[in-house]
Symmetry: C2
């Protein structure tokens, strides 16, 4: 027995009185009630059909039809699946108009009109909702259609398709019946058809003759009665209303609900229903059906690009049973290079289509994706919409269309998304291969691009295998600073725990390295060097592929596509356009000369965050790290000062290298931030070595290490609190920064170091530290005799600092929002621990988005606004930026622009995205102070 | 060689132009330039001398003198220890006035005037600054004084005292010379004197004859020349100016600087200098000196209370060489009961003194502390000030003076501090014993009162020893919930780590139990059941005594004083006075019937925080805790629901017990707050037992326990986040609360349960939980058929909740500030980890006070104000309270009153303090909405 599922209603209630007067919009015959700008009411498909059919500049051949508005969808769900009374009359009136234009009549035995019934939401939801074709075929109309087409096989094939679709979509799914797996009515009918094929010795559907198909429709109807307990309706109007209802029903189907959740489409939007007269591309050699793009969506090149099939229906193109032909020679690909083009086979139709292509691009000022059908030599346009494109194509088209004056600069800047820009920078898994492969699992997309490698389970193995020339993917429960070398060596990182701002995610994103985190489905089996995921077990050395932009994990080696020099040139040109527009500066978070150079190449205008302690992570940091650890483990001021002296040269030289790369630009150096215990070694040998260097026992050292431990290190003894309690640490860092600068200035290098104090919550913290900094500068000046143009500023990452911004600005020359920490404190979320419940919060819509990815404008955003207002009230020219992870996220960049910040600072690989987002923000919300 | 210390200047700069015109204020002979209200300028001593001498209602016999204002102190330090030119003339002019009144002349060989030079700050700093007596004795004036007094011994004794004081105070300390330990000039002179005593076979100083003393002054002067390289000045004016400078210098001496830090006295205030003609109580049997209080400062009883010594100087009374006599029979104590009273010995002087006592009390409307001297039968008043008193005395006096109409209700309410009120509730270490005992060490005063017990080092021992009838003090590194039973069993708790809001401090304060935390000096020696503190080692079973109000630790058994029934009655009467005044309600934080009853007795008007999870702590909680642990360790919904069902009856019965005690009042039950892993047992056996109950392996259980661990649990999966992710937990708690209420209502008990949602940061969190709560109520109503008057509200403890208060108030009927967490998030301070750096922050004046003790008004306070404003804008009658630890702290209570809160909620033992503070707040800042 099939179970009846409870379908959820959309939250919004809709009464009759809230409906518009007009419920149905006609199109066809050079006229249309609607237009493209009415997408919200008519859905994308309906609006574009109206535009193509009715706009004076277009008047394209569109099979006549009508659209029932999206308002009816909400009404339908709010009113127990009923329609307002007037709908019936409106639908019938519009049917009459189709009949007039086509000369056919719906349900007419002689010259029957058949219609398609399709969904069409405000935003495209491909394949998520249902379609009924050939609606209107009944025992009564079949003979007439055979008479007209002289093609009984075509007619019975159309009929059996209608029965299959209708019983599945309307009678089963549309009625809320949840069939058991592989036992839905469609599957059952397919089995009936298979039996028939076996009986007849038919290899494929097309081997079945008209008579076979006719017999099949009888068997189908019996099966439907048996399984669903109802008759297949033999009435054309019943079919129409059944189909309309099923399309509305499919809006709340599982597939659609899931898809909307991912794409963040509100349930309240609803779908429209498009009822359109059928045209047939499968009426013989003078018929055909196809899809095309006005430009190549894979490369962006400016030529008409499309495929078609002779004597076929739309679904055949999609199903891939036959290899489609190219519409022209430019559209040829590997598989189709030997096939004839439409240009060759149907020159007149092709010319008409090519002319339509030009008209459409000129009209829409963008690249379009169209569907067309040729019925007995006559071309019909079935759909048109702005075409999807990949990153490289999007950028190329934007540049081309701007040059062609097809669109303005401001228009084309809106047409590229940050994610698309990102595709230009990274190797990606070949999208074609990806489209046909089922992933092993899914985590969070923490680092962009694609990667392929052999699985290893610890950092040491990653380094070792990498030295042996192997490509590896490092798989960890979660990572910590001691894994960094292994993370560098790996192609990508995959973790079972952690969120978008976990250690792995932060490090990987900073490097632009592919990374997937928090893949819960992974079960690491300790000691065995293997993990389980679903029913699969992946062992050390097995190949896996990651798509870090989507968070997907694949078994085996997937093909990768690399960006070329041409791509980079295109990117550069595109960013120049952005730079003409934007008001917000874009800086970068970089800690090494290599990252800094990379960011400069991408257009970064300064360093907004140089984490001074990051010199202690990663390759070649051993010696410096050892000195740092000595300093940390010191108990007396003398011990600590000695260790600081030993540390000084490492730090100075490290800073010099980056200052040099960033010549002429500001470099914001953040003083030591993390709690000291983060640097305490975990391995016993390292601890022993340290003990020897300090001349203290292992036990004593362990005691000191224990004393450093904290129950909530994020809110513990870190940041400026270290600087206040150990002023000598601030002094040494300042000396390293200013001496590095002074030495370079003497060499003629222009250096602008900005010193940034982290984790500030009190006015006196900054006055205390600023005094040390200025005092140290006086000494450096005495020693080197050159002036250093430095500024002193603070991170704003504690709610109290936001509230007290006015007082902080009395001493501070710049502010930089550390939105990771600020988000933590404002929400009381530990970014390391919130992964579990945040995921559920997002699923349950308790919170709209992950605030560690996109700035929470209501809470954190208000604090940012308060800070800007109070800070600038005290100091009019206060420089304000953001250096949290959100600094490279488009929505957050727009927020920063609106909040009046001077710059955003983000990972080198996010710089282009930030530049684009800043330009888009300025276009949407122009501000004066560029 | 003595080192010359660098003395620090006060920060403030003082120039000549900022000085007042008048630098010196005269008093004496029934007149005075100053008065009591001029304390800031004249210091306390100077202002009161002026008041006594010059006020028309008093005109008491005060030896004439003058006061150099506190302004000169700041000037002195800001101007390289120089004075403005006009000072010399002013001082000399005022000296002439003294000479006129006394008939003596300063430096006159025949009838020499001697003066005392004393400090006197705005606020009393007893013993912290220096005094010079007998100033004006020189080779020239000595013969005349001998001639006048006929007492060469008296004169030479006065002279050697002057030399000793002057060389120490002026020539050594005043010159900034830091002598080595035990080698200061005073010590060296004492050794000279000892040698002389030995030579003469004298037992005490008084055995030395006039000739011996004369010889001694010669030896003293030689020693001074030898050690300090300077001559003792034989010029009366040089002595006077030297003395004045030394008093100003002593303001920046180490002792004074330390004292000011503790008492939070600003360095800028400075001290005044009082120069006053000497009167001598040591001129024979008709002379005497004494100190008295106008009422008993230990009990508050209304009689004149004082002590005196015949033929003695002031310093003899303080030094305790002879037992002082009582001034009257009421002043007799154990030691002095056999001694004659002043009333008996000097009836005329006593009558005069008693009359002065009455005059002074009437004039000052408060209890006073006076110093007096009788010189040759003539009474002189040397000092008067508002007298210090202990808690019981303060309360008694307040009530008495109000009844006597000596002071108004509003006046007396201001004269009792919260700490004094607290003394009425608790046994305390006998203050007399404490005054003479050196503590072993000092920690933070986390739980009030005094305690004496034997040291134990773990909770189990505490329980065991307690059962054996022993009084124990539990000493731990820090405590955790598993220690709670042991903490209950102990007289007091002492920890080496943790701050004022550490686990130990919170629990102890809640119980009103004596507790000292964060005593860094303690070194626990693991495995040995002993701790080191300084040079001492304290072993298991050793007796120690704690003063939890001061944070001091003593070796051995100190005597304790308990409050009696009389005290409680007095307290009740006093609180009634407070209740007449206050606008703010006072509720309590209580989790047990006993605590609730205690709080009600003290005047609590509701429960503002009933921590539902606290039923799992402490004695008798084993069975419930086991069920809770089962629930926590459940992995599936089914497992969890089963465990919740088992837990339900425990929770319901626990709630009923407290609801009953609080009949007729609101009880605010906070839903489960802490991260679940807090309840995971640490011991292997307990974990195994749990595994058996759940039917899973130990390894599996360990895995589950590990999965619950968090890196920053304070910001992890806790509070409402548990309720959202496990709705069944909220449902069970709600059911327990509402069924407990319903069952009691059926028995005729009036119950008002308020359900409070913790750790909220999002609007949707409260709507989600409120829906569960209302749904559950509908079910409870169905089952029991009685209406429960419940409210749903939220804690406000996350900064974001403050900003979004307007939206939260749409659903929430009340707010309660959790200022512990709010302070943590606003500052980014983990209360468990901030102890170390916060201490240093306070020492370095980076932050004025510990924000976990007193609400930070600038940061947290602004958030509170924002919340109140936005919350009430949405819901006008929104009930708002505070249930953080600061709810019982006077300054914070005043803030809450001003912010317009409806109530503060605090530990039962803080309730009286909160009531008093609320009354005081209303007097200072009257508001309408009582």
């Amino acid at each position: 027995m099939p179970k009846t599922a409870v379908m959820k209603k959309p939250a919004q209630k809709v009464s009759k009185s809230s409906l518009s007067k007009k419920l149905v919009y006609f199109f066809g015959g050079g006229k249309a009630d609607g237009k493209e700008s009415m997408k919200n009411l008519l859905g994308g498909k309906g609006a574009n059909l109206a535009e193509m059919a009715g706009h004076p500049a277009l008047k394209l051949p569109v099979p006549p039809g009508f659209t029932i508005t999206t308002e009816l969808c909400a009404y339908y769900w709010a009113n127990k699946r009923a329609y307002p009374r007037q709908l019936k009359a409106e639908v019938e009136k519009n049917l009459r108009r189709i009949e007039e234009l086509t000369g056919k009549k719906f349900g007419d035995p002689k010259n029957p009109l058949l219609v398609s019934v399709r969904s069409g939401a405000r935003k495209s939801m491909p394949g998520m909702m249902e379609t009924i074709l050939n609606c209107g075929l009944t025992e009564a109309t079949i003979p007439g259609l055979i008479e007209l087409t002289k093609n009984p096989r075509f007619v019975y094939d159309s009929y059996r398709r209608l029965i299959m679709m209708y019983s599945d979509v309307v009678m089963e799914k549309g009625a809320g019946i949840e069939a058991e797996d592989n036992n839905g009515i469609r599957k059952q009918l397919e089995r009936v058809m298979d039996a028939m094929k076996q009986k007849r010795g038919a290899k494929s559907d097309t081997d079945l003759k008209a008579g076979d198909l006719k017999e099949l429709t009888v068997l189908f109807k019996a099966k439907i009665k048996e399984v669903l307990g109802k008759e297949f309706p033999d009435d054309h109007m019943a079919q129409l209303w059944g189909s309309i209802g099923a399309v509305f029903a499919s809006w709340m189907g599982n597939k659609a609900v899931q898809y909307r959740k991912i794409e963040k489409i509100p349930a309240e939007w609803g779908t429209a229903v498009n009822v359109q007269s059928m045209v047939f591309g499968n009426m013989g050699d003078t018929s055909a059906t196809g899809v095309a793009f006005t430009r190549d969506p894979g490369t962006g090149e400016n030529y008409f690009y499309g495929e078609f099939l002779e004597n076929a229906q739309g679904e055949d193109v999609v199903a891939g049973i036959r290899t489609p032909h190219p519409v022209n020679s430019q559209s040829r690909n590997e598989k189709s290079r030997h096939l004839k083009t439409m240009e060759e086979m149907m020159p007149a139709c092709y010319r008409e289509l090519a002319a339509i292509r030009a008209k459409l691009e000129k009209h829409y000022r963008d690249m379009l994706d169209v569907e067309f059908t040729v019925e007995n030599g006559r071309l019909w346009m079935l759909q048109c919409r702005v075409g999807k494109r990949n990153g490289p194509a999007a950028v190329r088209m934007a540049l081309d269309m701007y040059r062609e004056k097809l669109a303005t600069r401001d228009e084309v800047l809106h047409r590229v998304t940050g994610d698309q820009l990102n595709e230009l920078l990274l190797p990606i898994i070949d999208p074609k291969a990806e489209a046909t492969t089922r992933p092993l699992g899914k985590g969070l997309p923490a680092g962009p691009g694609g990667a392929v490698g052999m699985v290893v389970f610890n950092a040491a193995d990653a380094v070792k295998w990498n030295k042996e020339g192997k490509k590896v993917i490092l798989v960890r429960e979660e990572t910590n600073p001691e894994d960094v070398e292994g993370m560098r060596a790996a192609e990508a990182i995959l973790t079972a725990r952690g969120g978008m701002t976990s250690h792995a995610a932060l490090v990987a994103r900073g490097w632009g390295k592919c990374c997937v985190v928090g893949c819960d489905a992974i079960e690491l089996e300790h000691g065995t060097k293997a993990f389980k995921i679903g029913s699969e077990t992946v062992k050390e050395g097995d190949w896996v592929s990651l798509n870090g932009s989507k968070g997907t994990i694949y078994k085996g080696k997937m093909p990768l596509v690399e960006p070329g020099a041409e791509t980079k040139k295109t990117l550069g040109e595109f960013l120049k356009l952005c730079n003409q527009v934007r008001a917000l500066k874009v800086w970068t978070n970089a800690d090494t000369p290599a990252d800094s150079a990379q960011a400069r190449e991408y257009g970064a205008e300064g360093i907004g965050l140089f984490r001074i302690e990051h010199m202690f992570y990663g390759k070649g940091s051993d010696a410096a790290l050892f000195q740092l650890r000595k300093m940390i483990m010191s108990k007396t001021l003398e011990e600590r000062k000695a260790a600081l002296n030993d540390l000084f040269p490492y730090m100075k030289n490290d800073l010099k290298a980056t200052f040099k790369v960033m010549e002429g630009m500001h470099v914001t150096v953040r003083l030591m931030d993390p709690p000291l215990h983060e640097f305490v070694p975990h391995q016993k040998e390292k601890l022993q070595e340290l003990g020897q260097a300090l001349g203290i026992s292992y036990e004593e050292l362990e005691t000191r290490a224990t004393a450093l431990r904290e129950s909530n290190p994020m809110m513990g003894h870190r940041g400026v609190r270290l600087g206040v309690t150990y002023p000598e640490i601030t002094e040494m860092q300042t000396r390293a920064i200013l001496e590095a600068a002074a030495e370079l200035i003497k060499e003629g290098v222009k250096v602008y170091p900005d010193i940034m104090i982290p984790v500030v919550s009190l006015e006196n913290e900054v006055t205390d530290q600023t005094a040390i900094i200025h005092r140290t500068y006086a000494e450096v000046y005495k020693k080197h005799g050159v002036k250093v143009n430095y500024m002193v500023g603070t991170m704003i990452e504690i709610p109290r600092a936001c509230l007290l911004a006015g007082r902080l600005a009395e001493t501070m020359e710049f502010f930089s929002f550390g939105t990771n920490d600020l988000t933590q404190m404002t929400f009381g979320y530990s970014r390391d621990d919130s992964g579990y419940f945040l995921k559920e919060y997002i699923d349950k819509k308790i919170i709209p988005v992950d605030p560690f990815q996109t700035i929470d404008q209501d809470g954190v955003g208000e604090l940012i606004k308060i800070t800007v207002e109070r800070g600038r009230k005290t100091r009019k020219d206060l420089k304000i930026g953001i250096c949290g992870e959100q600094g490279g996220e488009p929505v957050s960049v727009e927020f920063c622009h609106k909040a009046g910040l001077n710059y955003v600072s983000c990972s080198p690989f996010r710089v282009p995205i930030a530049i684009l987002s800043a330009a888009q923000a300025q276009l949407r919300f122009p501000r004066k102070n560029k």
